[in-house]
C-alpha cells in the first residue's frame, strides 16, 4: 500500500505536477461554486490566476533527464519530456492571459463565475493531458474532454442565438469523434496495439499499409476539425460569432496548441511509413489557407475575421508539419509560440474595444486613431505580426517555417508559392481592420481606460511581438532542442 502511494507520488512529481495542481484548483473551484456567495465572484478569477501561476512555476521543477529524454509515469500512460513541458508552458501561459481577459464576462454573469472557471480549468487540464498521452485511448479521452469543455464554455454566452450557433460545433465534433473512434478500432484490429510506440513498431515490420493509411486518415479527421482545417472548417465562423469574446479567444488558442502538440507526436509514428500523407497534408494546408483567406476578406465583423484567421494560421502550421523534419517541427513550435502571443494580443485589443462600446463591426473601428493613438499603434503592431510582416515576430516565424518547407525538396515548392500568395490575401483581410482605424472620420466610440488587464495584455503582447523578433535566435535554439528530443 505504502509502496503504491509512494509510486504515485513519485509519478506525480516526475511528470504530472502542473496537472495535479490544476486538479486541486478545479476541485476547489467546484466546491466554492456551491458554497460561496455571488458577491465573492471576483475571488474566482484570483484563485484561478493563482492556480495557473503555481502550475506554471511547478513546470520548472519537473525533472528533465539529459540522457533518456522521456520520463514515463502511471504505467507508461503519461510521458514527460522537454517537448511536452514546452507545450504545457505555452498552454498555461495562454490560460493565464485568457483568465485575465475574462474580466467582463464574469462581471456580467456573477452567479456563474466559479462554474465558468471550473470548466475553464478542466479545459486547460485536458489540453495539458492531450500533449502528454502515450496511447490512443488516452488521446480520445483527453481530446474529447477538451472538446466537451469547449462546448460548455461556448454555451456560456448571453447571446440568444449562441446555442444555435455553437450547435454546429457539437454535431460536427461528435461526427469527427466517431470517425476517430472508428479509426482507432481499425488500427487496433490491424496491429493489436493501442499505444503509439506499439503501432510504430508494427508499422516498421509490415508492408500492407493501405488499410493503415485509411485508418490514420480517419483518426486525422478530429484534428482537422479542432484546428479548423478545410474539409472540417465550416463550424469556425458561426461558432465564433455565437461565443463570448474571451471564449472565442480561448477557442482560437488552447485547442490549437494542444492539437498541434499531439499531431506532431502522432506524425512521428506514421509519417516515415506513410509518405502519401505528406502530399495529402500539404494539399490540405494549401487549400485551407486559400479558402479561409478568401472567406476572410468578405467578413464584416471582427469575430468572423478572427475565426478565419485561426484557420489560416493553422493551415500555415500544417504546411510546416507536412514536410516532417526537425527544422520544420521546430519551425512549427516557434510559430506556435509567436502565434500564442500575437493572437492573444489581438483578442485583448478586440475585447477591450468590445467592453468599452459593445460593438463588433469592422466599421466601428473607424477613426479610432484620433481618440486612442497608442491603443491603435499597439493593435496595429500585433495585427502586422499576425499577418507576418517584416519587423515583427510573425515574420521571423514565417521565415523559419517556410525555409524549412523550401528545404524539403522541389516537390513542395509549387505548394509553397501558392500558399505564400494566399497569405497576401490574408494580409489584405487584416489590413482592412488597420485601414478602418486610420480612417479620417469622427467617431463617438472611445476606449474605456479603466480595464487595466486587457490593456496590459495588449501592450505586453505588442512588445513581445517585437522582442521575439529581435531575440529570436535563443528561442529558436530552444525550439530546436524541444523538437530534437521529441
Amino acid at each position: 500500500m505504502i509502496e503504491s502511494i509512494n509510486g504515485i507520488v513519485n509519478d506525480i512529481l516526475n511528470a504530472y505536477l502542473p496537472e495535479s495542481i490544476i486538479i486541486i484548483f478545479i476541485l476547489f473551484s467546484l466546491t466554492a461554486s456551491l458554497f460561496f456567495n455571488t458577491s465573492l465572484y471576483k475571488l474566482s478569477k484570483w484563485f484561478t490566476l493563482f492556480g495557473i501561476t503555481l502550475a506554471l512555476g511547478s513546470t520548472f521543477f519537473l525533472p528533465i533527464d539529459p540522457d533518456n529524454m522521456e520520463i514515463f509515469a502511471f504505467n507508461g500512460e503519461i510521458v514527460s519530456s522537454i517537448y511536452t513541458i514546452f507545450f504545457k508552458i505555452l498552454i498555461l501561459m495562454s490560460a493565464f492571459f485568457l483568465t485575465l481577459l475574462s474580466r467582463n464576462l464574469i462581471r456580467e454573469k456573477r452567479d456563474r463565475a466559479f462554474e465558468y472557471f471550473t470548466v475553464f480549468l478542466c479545459a486547460v487540464l485536458f489540453a495539458m493531458c492531450t500533449v502528454s498521452v502515450t496511447n490512443f485511448a488516452g488521446l480520445f479521452f483527453a481530446f474529447e474532454g477538451l472538446g466537451l469543455c469547449s462546448f460548455l464554455l461556448l454555451n456560456f454566452s448571453k447571446k440568444t442565438d449562441a446555442k444555435q450557433l455553437s450547435f454546429g460545433y457539437f454535431v460536427q465534433g461528435n461526427a469527427a469523434a466517431f470517425l476517430f473512434l472508428f479509426g482507432i478500432s481499425y488500427l487496433y484490429g490491424l496491429c493489436g496495439q493501442i499505444s503509439f510506440s506499439g503501432v510504430s513498431d508494427y508499422l516498421a515490420q509490415t508492408d500492407s499499409i493501405v488499410l493503415l493509411t485509411f485508418a490514420f486518415i480517419l483518426i486525422l479527421c478530429v484534428f482537422l476539425f479542432k484546428l479548423g482545417i478545410v474539409p472540417f472548417s465550416s463550424w469556425v465562423a458561426d461558432t465564433f460569432e455565437g461565443a463570448g469574446y474571451p471564449i472565442a479567444a480561448f477557442m482560437s488558442t488552447i485547442p490549437v496548441l494542444a492539437g498541434f502538440g499531439i499531431l506532431s507526436r502522432l506524425l512521428l509514428v506514421f509519417m516515415n511509413y506513410l509518405p502519401v500523407l505528406k502530399i495529402l497534408f500539404i494539399c490540405i494546408a494549401m487549400l485551407t489557407i486559400l479558402f479561409s483567406a478568401l472567406s476572410a476578406i468578405r467578413q464584416t465583423t471582427v469575430k468572423r475575421l478572427m475565426a478565419y484567421s485561426m484557420s489560416v494560421q493553422s493551415g500555415i502550421m500544417l504546411l510546416g508539419l507536412s514536410v516532417f523534419s526537425v527544422f520544420s517541427l521546430s519551425g512549427v513550435l516557434f510559430y506556435l509560440l509567436c502565434y500564442m502571443f500575437v493572437n492573444i494580443g489581438v483578442w485583448a485589443a478586440i475585447i477591450l474595444f468590445y467592453d468599452s462600446c459593445k460593438r463588433d463591426n469592422i466599421e466601428d473601428y473607424n477613426g479610432l486613431i484620433f481618440h486612442r493613438p497608442y491603443y491603435v499603434i499597439a493593435f496595429t503592431t500585433v495585427l502586422i505580426a499576425l499577418a507576418g510582416l517584416a519587423p515583427t515576430s510573425g515574420f521571423v516565424a514565417k521565415l523559419y517555417l517556410f525555409s524549412a518547407v523550401a528545404r524539403a525538396g522541389f516537390l513542395f515548392l509549387p505548394f509553397l508559392i501558392i500558399s505564400m500568395l494566399a497569405c497576401v490575401i490574408m494580409i489584405f483581410a487584416y489590413w482592412k481592420l488597420i485601414r478602418s482605424m486610420f480612417r479620417r472620420v469622427d467617431t463617438e466610440v472611445s476606449i474605456d481606460t479603466k480595464i487595466v488587464s486587457s490593456k496590459f495584455i495588449l501592450y505586453a503582447c505588442a512588445l513581445a511581438s517585437i522582442l521575439l523578433c529581435i531575440f529570436a535566435d535563443k528561442i529558436i535554439q530552444l525550439c530546436q532542442s524541444a523538437a530534437y528530443y521529441l
Binding site: Y374, P391, F402, M420, V424, W431, R435
Partner: protein, 507 residues
C-alpha cells in the same frame, strides 16, 4: 574612420521616430518640425562623413558592422546575421536618401496640417527602412527592410493624400506585398540550394554570388525571374507600373518627393545587387530582352505621359519613361553603360525630386494640379519659373546639366556593346536618341502649359517662392549643375565597384 558606425546611421531615424511618438514629446507642430529638421540635418552631415572617409579604391564593402543585441547576433543558428556595409553605389544612394528626407522636411511645413507627430515619425521610419535596404549585407535583412518600407509608406500616402488616396495606397501596398512573395520565395530557395551545394548555411549576398557555375541553369533561371518580378514592380517598369502614377497623383507633395527620390532607386539597387551580381550568366542571357524592355519603356510611358491631364501624372510617367535608360545601360554589359546606368539612377532621383518640389510649390498656391486650370504662372512667379526651367532642362539632358552625361554614356555604351544581336542594339541606340526628343516633348509641354501660356484671372495675385522654397530649389539646382559640369566626381566613387561587377560578368 572607426568612429563612423552604419548602425547609428541606419537606426538613428527609428530612434527619432520613437522619440517623437512618446506621449511626453510636445504635440506642437513647430516644435516637432524643428526637431525633425534639426535631426535630419545632423543625419545628413553624418552621412556625408562616410563619403569623406570613403576609400574609393576599394571594390568590396566597407564600414562593415554587425548589429548584436547583448552580444547575440540575429538568427545566428540559421546563418542569418544583421550585418551592414556599404560600397560605392550604395553609399551614394544613402547620402541621396538622407538629403531628400531633409528636403522633404523643409517642404512639409506647407502641406502637412494634421497629425504632425505621426507624419514625422513615419517619415523617419521610412528613411530607416530605405537606408537598411541599401546597407544590408544579408539577404533576409534586406527583405526585412524591404517590407518595412511599405508600412510607413501606406500611412504616408493614405493619411495625408487627397480623398482617393486611400484606395491607391491599398492598391500599391497589395501589389508590393504580392511582389514581395516572389522575392521571398526566390531568397528561400536560393538560401537552401546554396546550403545543399556548399554545405554552408549562409544568406550573405557576397558569398552567394561567388559560385555561379555550380547552380543548374533552370534553377538559376527560376530564381532570376522571381527576383526580377520582385524588383521590377518597384523600379517600376512598363506593364508593372500602374501603381506609381496612381499614388503620385493622389498623395501629398512631400510624399511625392520622398517616393520619387528614394523608393524607386532601391528597385534598381536590388536589380544590381541580386540579379546582376548573383546571376551573371542569366543576366547575360536576358540582356537583349531587358534592353528591348527598356526601349518599350521609354516609348510607351513617354507616349502615356503626353496625354495625361495632370502635372503629377506627367512627371510620374516621365520618370518611368526615363528609367528605361537605366535598363538599357545595365543591359549593354560594358563599363560605360553600367556607369551610366548607376549615374542615371542617381540623376533621375535628383531631377524628379526637384520637379516634384516645383509641383509642390505650384500645388500649394493654386490647390490644383490639372493642366486645364493652370497656365501663365511664369508672369506671377518668375523665380519659380527660372528654377523650373533649369530643372526641366536637367531632365531633358541639356549639356552641362545632370542627365546629359549618363544619357551620353548609356547611348555610347549601347553602340559599343558587343551583344550578339547587333542589329537590335543599333536599333536600340537610335531609338534612344529619338527618345531624347520625346523626353523634351513631354517635359517642355509640362513647362509650357504651367508657366508660359495664358494667365488665368484667378491666379493673378499669387505670391512667388518663399525663402524656404528658394533655399531648397537653390540647393537642388546647384546639385543639378555641379553634377552636370563635373560628372566624374560621382563616377569615381563607384568606379572600382563597377569594375568588380563587370569582372563577375566576364565581359
Amino acid at each position: 574612420m572607426n568612429f563612423l558606425s552604419l548602425i547609428t546611421l541606419i537606426f538613428a531615424p527609428i530612434a527619432a521616430a520613437l522619440l517623437i511618438l512618446i506621449p511626453k514629446f510636445p504635440n506642437h507642430q513647430v516644435k516637432v518640425r524643428r526637431f525633425a529638421k534639426a535631426f535630419a540635418s545632423l543625419h545628413f552631415i553624418y552621412a556625408m562623413l562616410f563619403l569623406v572617409f570613403f576609400d574609393t579604391g576599394l571594390y568590396g564593402m566597407s564600414y562593415e558592422k554587425e548589429l548584436t543585441f547583448f552580444n547575440i547576433s540575429w538568427l545566428k543558428s540559421m546563418g542569418i546575421s544583421a550585418k551592414f556595409a556599404v560600397d560605392g553605389i550604395s553609399l551614394l544612394l544613402v547620402i541621396l536618401t538622407s538629403f531628400i528626407v531633409l528636403i522633404t522636411f523643409v517642404l512639409s511645413k506647407m502641406h502637412i496640417r494634421t497629425k504632425h507627430k505621426l507624419y514625422y515619425s513615419m517619415v523617419f521610419l521610412f528613411e530607416s527602412a530605405i537606408l537598411g535596404i541599401l546597407c544590408a549585407k544579408d539577404m533576409f535583412m534586406f527583405f526585412v527592410f524591404w517590407e518595412l518600407s511599405l508600412i510607413p509608406l501606406y500611412f504616408l500616402i493614405s493619411q495625408w493624400g487627397n480623398s482617393e488616396a486611400r484606395s491607391a495606397a491599398m492598391k500599391f501596398t497589395l501589389a508590393s506585398f504580392t511582389a514581395n512573395v516572389f522575392l521571398f520565395f526566390a531568397m528561400l530557395i536560393l538560401y537552401y540550394y546554396n546550403f545543399a551545394v556548399s554545405n554552408v548555411l549562409t544568406a550573405n549576398i557576397e558569398s552567394l554570388s561567388m559560385d555561379e557555375s555550380i547552380y543548374p541553369m533552370w534553377f538559376q533561371m527560376l530564381v532570376f525571374i522571381n527576383f526580377l518580378i520582385g524588383f521590377i514592380i518597384r523600379v517600376p517598369f512598363v506593364f508593372f507600373h500602374s501603381w506609381y502614377p496612381d499614388i503620385q497623383s493622389k498623395s501629398c507633395a512631400p510624399v511625392n518627393i520622398l517616393v520619387s527620390g528614394t523608393l524607386l532607386c532601391t528597385g534598381v539597387y536590388g536589380l544590381i545587387r541580386f540579379n546582376l551580381q548573383i546571376f551573371p550568366e542569366i543576366f547575360k542571357l536576358f540582356a537583349p530582352v531587358l534592353m528591348c524592355w527598356g526601349v518599350v519603356n521609354i516609348i510607351y510611358a513617354g507616349a502615356l505621359s503626353i496625354i495625361q491631364p495632370e502635372i503629377k501624372k506627367i512627371a510620374a510617367y516621365a520618370q518611368i519613361s526615363m528609367t528605361g535608360f537605366v535598363m538599357i545601360g545595365l543591359a549593354c554589359l560594358n563599363q560605360v553603360g553600367f556607369n551610366g546606368a548607376v549615374f542615371m539612377t542617381l540623376a533621375l532621383s535628383i531631377v524628379f525630386t526637384s520637379l516634384y518640389a516645383i509641383i509642390s510649390s505650384v500645388q500649394f498656391r493654386t490647390k490644383t494640379t490639372y493642366l486645364t486650370a493652370l497656365g501663365g504662372l511664369g508672369q506671377v512667379m518668375p523665380k519659380c519659373m527660372y528654377f523650373a526651367l533649369i530643372i526641366c532642362f536637367g531632365a531633358i539632358g541639356v549639356p552641362f546639366l545632370i542627365t546629359f552625361a549618363p544619357k551620353l554614356m548609356i547611348l555610347s555604351g549601347a553602340i559599343l556593346s558587343n551583344l550578339e544581336e547587333e542589329l537590335m542594339v543599333k536599333i536600340v541606340a537610335i531609338t534612344g536618341l529619338l527618345a531624347i526628343i520625346f523626353a523634351s516633348g513631354y517635359i517642355m509641354y509640362l513647362f509650357y502649359k504651367v508657366f508660359c501660356s495664358v494667365l488665368l484671372e484667378q491666379w493673378k495675385r499669387l505670391k512667388d517662392l518663399s525663402p524656404q522654397e528658394m533655399s531648397v530649389m537653390t540647393a537642388l539646382c546647384l546639385v543639378i549643375i555641379y553634377f552636370g559640369v563635373y560628372p566624374m566626381s560621382v563616377i569615381q566613387i563607384y568606379q572600382s565597384v563597377s569594375n568588380y561587377l563587370l569582372d563577375i560578368l566576364q565581359v
